[in-house]
Amino acid sequence: MSESNYYPENMKVADAFRWTGEFYDSFDRDRAVELSGRFGLSLNKKIKSLSTGYGTIFKLVTALSVNVPYILLDEPVLGLDANHRDLFYRVLIETYSENPATYIISTHLIEEVSGIIEDVVIINKGRIIRNEPRESLLSKYYCVTGHISAVDEFARDKKVIASETLGGLKNAYIEGTPDKRSMPEGLSISRMDLQKLFIQLTGEGGNMQ
């Protein structure tokens, strides 16, 4: 599924499904029609007249109905409202459960997909800087929260990859595995989230390569 739309000017959604069925033997047209109904996509509309969101929905429905071993989704939630994004993630899991395949999702909305992905590939300036299972990647970091002085004291001999301060509180993102038994009072440990890690790995001052 490409981010761009290269369907002919006058082609309708129903015609596109028909031709996709010709190009892909495994395309499930009934499934495509059923998914269109769930997303509220009209089959009689011309593809070029669809809004950005419905254009994305059309391509998602097509991609989720082709039943091929590898499916590449490029910005799959572009222009989708919150309801449709939620529906898409549910349908993706549902489709994966019924017909397991490798889905490669390219997205900037990391937080949203972090719950459904198994492997993470992070690309920065055209270079792969991380390529490993999500669990393995996240287990290498943790977040410590507490009063500024307590966090600074705790993090003094540790590798801090980033920190943020809000009022008198501070979050420090630390590389390594936390030892919960030796945690000073007043500090709490939480799991690193993928988006935060991504920002630190790729953003300004992200020097963890």
Binding site: S2, S4, Y6, W19, T20, E22, F23, Y24
Partner: protein, 242 residues
């Protein structure tokens, strides 16, 4: 499998245009016939209905790349299948339209004469005069039309593929440069530098290529193959342009 589906799509896309074209041809013939029947003193000639088909196929060829290429690429059709399906579609259309045009010609010559007041003249007859045998004329005219149709269709496809690959500057250079070279530079060089040697050679080549129907058939097929060959060279590394 990809080629079969791509060919099916191309034929489906061309079907509507071909039907409209022949409806227009039928309407034109009906109009001429009605005029001849209504106005008793009128006489008419329909010269080379095939010229209209040539223009139609050239335009169809010109419109056969950009949109279809992008659509096929988005659906995982290989470039090889894109070109192969275009060649097959063109051959099928040229065969069918050559057959239809020649059937129209036979019907016109035999059934729509209105006592000799209407004369249907085909492209073959117009270029090479009446054929000796009426029986042989049909297959010769059919092959002749097919090869010319195929050539112009391939030329249209080559031009559109070439323009697709070029950037804006190249498009302007070719659009201005080629007509200028053909209309002014080449004739001037031919006249003042080469003393008409270029035009003599060109005339000899054209004469040889089209001096008899058989030559024209072979020339048409060879040129079609050459145009599609160049199109393949251009299309094999083409990328989707926004």
């Amino acid at each position: 499998m990809n080629i079969k589906a791509a060919l099916k799509y191309r034929l489906y896309e061309s079907k509507k245009s071909v039907i409209i074209f022949y409806l227009a041809v039928a309407a034109l013939i009906l109009l001429i016939s009605t005029t001849i029947i209504t106005i008793k003193t009128t006489e008419g000639k329909t010269n080379s209905l095939e010229i209209a088909t040539i223009v139609f196929l050239f335009i169809l060829g010109l419109n056969s790349f950009r949109e279809t290429f992008r659509f096929f690429m988005q659906n995982g059709i290989s470039r090889k299948a894109i070109i192969s399906s275009q060649i097959m579609c063109s051959l099928i259309l040229c065969l069918a339209m050559s057959l239809i045009d020649n059937i129209i010609l036979v019907i016109g010559k035999n059934l729509l004469t209105f006592g000799g007041r209407l004369d249907f003249i085909g492209m073959l007859e117009l270029m090479y005069g009446p054929q000796n045998s009426a029986v042989a004329a049909f297959p010769v005219s059919f092959l002749f039309c097919f090869s010319i149709y195929s050539m112009v269709s391939a030329l249209g496809f080559l031009i559109t593929t070439l323009y697709y690959r070029m950037n804006k500057g190249q498009k302007i250079a070719v659009s201005v440069g080629v007509p200028a070279a053909l209309l002014f530079v080449l004739p001037a060089m031919d006249k003042y530098i080469f003393r008409f040697a270029i035009s003599n050679v060109f005339a000899k080549v054209i004469r040889f290529a089209f001096e008899a129907p058989a030559n024209a058939v072979v020339s048409g097929i060879v040129l079609s193959a050459a145009f599609y060959g160049f199109s393949w060279l251009l299309a094999r590394k083409a990328v989707i342009k926004d």
